[in-house]
Symmetry: C2
Subunit: 190 residues, 2 copies
Amino acid sequence: MTITDDNTSVRNGVDTAALFATLDVVRQQPELAEFQFRATNRWISGTHNRSTINGYHGAGQEHARVHNFGYDADHPPVLTGGDQGPTPVEFLLHALAACLTSGLANVAAARGITLHEVSSTVQGDINLLGILGLDRDVRNGYSRIKVTFTVRGDASPEQLRELVERSQRRSAVLDVLTNGTHVEVDVCTV
Amino acid sequence: MTITDDNTSVRNGVDTAALFATLDVVRQQPELAEFQFRATNRWISGTHNRSTINGYHGAGQEHARVHNFGYDADHPPVLTGGDQGPTPVEFLLHALAACLTSGLANVAAARGITLHEVSSTVQGDINLLGILGLDRDVRNGYSRIKVTFTVRGDASPEQLRELVERSQRRSAVLDVLTNGTHVEVDVCTV
């Protein structure tokens, strides 16, 4: 266990004692690891719509946040949208950066490495001939996503690089974006 | 071209004249379809971090929004986070619902179908034994995502169902989430 200056087990804002305790509990009751996350979305006008994120199931029970999280999405004017929010594909880039960064902070804390900065830029290349239906040989989604991290902390460059490696090996979003997952779509037309 | 009651080409908030004009322009200059979207992220504390979304390249030039879009992400308390934002994987569900819904509204407008409601719920099942490193046989990401749409509009149930089908066939986010894409991660440790 890492003890920091303020005599707690908190490093980088991560409570490592709680983190290790959580791992121990789940190791003994693996069914607690089954989670279901959810979002609901409502169309507003044109390509503008809004999602609400709140409740989820996990650790054997339902959970609710104090407030709903709400997110607008839209297309930009160049795609005849109103720019009331980012495009849906931009949220994928946010999700990827966030997932890798959260994991990195946990791993650094667990290894006793104090971080000073973690920042990243994510770029996604996409040829819209796919979604516009103008070329059957062009896929709908990103052809390539590139993440560039800057990491500063009390460790060697090799150790800092290894934090990013480790966060990649344990990232839920990276897994879905690189390997895909099963998606089922149902429709009710009442 | 669809002419609605107010004598414009706007239906469901979609300017179909502009949409078809855009398609014509891109058909003649396919290089305009090359886009790059971006997000930047900064670690705040623990699993809490924030992304900024603004500039993108597309239609042959750089574009900037009037304001930055900013999004917090965090882990919930049950995963020793501070709940300062949704989890990164929840943003994937929002992105999926938003992409399918935007596409659906465009397709409906192009087909002259007036929509009254489009709402959806997205559920993603994930076993955290993967990201917690407790079971090598469990993947890190979602094992399954389920989207349930409710669509009401001036068309038959079959036609409304066909809108969802079509939006699936033209969805950038659905493509990435089901088929995956190439992701490259670089690190700078200065």
